[in-house]
Symmetry: C2
Subunit: 282 residues, 2 copies
């Protein structure tokens, strides 16, 4: 690994990315170094990150779906519930691309293109390990509702749907699925912001989070609150960037009101991973 | 692992223990979830923990000294300097005892008794990866000064000193070495406090830290400040426990004055590991 820009392996950087993401503060609406939700606390994210590593460690050599399902299983051994499901869904293909020596949009597009029906089956199985907040499936796709877990397996096999196909079906309503179909465009862009920024990594993570949120509506807020609050979150993140609002106050208010831009946090974790791989110092 | 009290492996619990330790707040004088030192910040501990795992992963099957040296090497890839040297020195023999199915004072005493001259050589080599604050060696032991690193190897071989022997020589002046010679008595006691306590793990870690500090002078404060401030730290921790002082205020004051009870934090990490192995829920 002597020609790598990072002193850590891709698997180590993936675990560190989820830890740096949750530590970064303020990230309005999310658990961070200074804020807990009532039943979802900082230590749940620490345990989730440590547990997820057993799956992340499979990403270089085993099928993407298997690595993801094992990561979610490991993540689930804490009392907070879903801590990093979306972040792991961003990270697993990125780790695989990095381990293959091509952590680029083209490299991760190839990982997505190479996914199989088995990967899709594993993906659905992952939902059995933890309660994930999801919306109703797109019209006509009830049979593929993730809440059905392993029961979807026959449908996946009948239709020969790969994990890449499954993600493409949700790309319009899920910010993580959209990354899977767009070569992780937003993730790679935010990684460059992190590298170009100054100061401690936790501050950079906060800035990148705000820029991502200001640029696009958070689909997790749409699912767990509604469209209106999702638009509000984006508008108010922009106000912070414009110097018209205070990030700490917004963080307190969003936690209070249950506005939780979780998808933006997932992309921030992915961006931290890419930046660490490209030499971001901690 | 179905009969284990923990859903995590010993290696996973060791990494989680160092993360929970640094997150626990307030721990007067130490970096914690709410406090940084000027050049030693929370994220350095996150990177240190992730990096250390490559060495912790060796503790079940490889020599103790080799596992420790690799853990320190991995820990060192961040800009904060020494984050968890002492904690890893506590954890490596505990992980080995746990992996062998006997995480008891007798079990870890056996691990210590089985250490070799090679382990001692690896231990000295670990000091070359990171700057560790140490005092002068005990009288007559200049040749064994840890600051000499690998240069001590011939002396260790001439005198046939094992790592257990080396620890015994420093037991009077170093709180971690004292644990190595006392069957990790304080570590196991604090693990029981953690299990009997109530509330979030971060709060329990703070209480255990204060009890350990109130009970015995912190040898890291002796080395990095002086005996007087070490005694003061112990006295004032007791005042917090007696309800006569505020832990948050004490934390702010100690960080300001550079009073850093690092050895007490190391034992807290060890206690968290034992408690996690015994079923402490996160």
């Amino acid at each position: 690994v002597t020609d790598r820009a990072s002193p850590r392996t891709p698997v180590e950087n993936a675990e560190l990315a989820v830890l740096l993401e949750v530590a970064g503060t303020p990230k309005p609406g999310n658990v961070d170094r200074r804020r807990d939700h009532p039943d979802l606390r900082f230590e749940h994210f620490l345990a989730g990150a440590v547990g997820a590593r057993r799956g992340l460690a499979l990403a270089p050599d085993r099928p993407v779906g298997e690595a993801f399902e094992r990561a979610v299983e490991g993540m689930s051994h804490q009392r907070g519930g879903n801590t990093q499901f979306g972040a792991l869904l961003v990270l697993v293909p990125l780790v695989r691309a990095a381990a293959g020596g091509d952590l680029t949009p083209a490299g991760v597009e190839r990982v997505v293109a190479d996914t199989t029906v088995e990967d899709a089956v594993s993906f659905y199985r992952a939902f059995e390990h933890v309660d994930v907040a999801v919306g109703d499936p797109p019209a006509g796709l009830d049979e593929l509702d993730v809440r059905r877990g392993s029961a979807v397996e026959p449908t996946l096999r009948d239709r020969a749907l790969t994990l890449g196909d499954v993600m493409a079906l949700s790309a319009d309503v899920d910010g993580v699925a959209a990354e899977w179909t767009d070569g992780f465009e937003r993730t790679f862009a935010a990684a460059e912001w992190l590298l170009a920024d100054e100061g401690p990594v936790g501050d950079r993570a906060s800035h990148a989070f705000l820029r991502l949120l200001a640029a696009e509506v958070d689909t997790f807020v749409v699912k767990t609150a509604d469209e209106e609050r999702a638009s509000e979150a984006t508008r108010r993140a922009q106000a912070v960037l414009d110097g018209e609002a205070d990030a700490e106050e917004l963080a307190a208010e969003f936690v209070e009101r249950g506005i939780n831009p979780g998808t933006t946090a997932d992309l921030t974790a992915g961006a931290l991973f890419v930046a660490l791989e490209r030499g971001l110092d901690v």
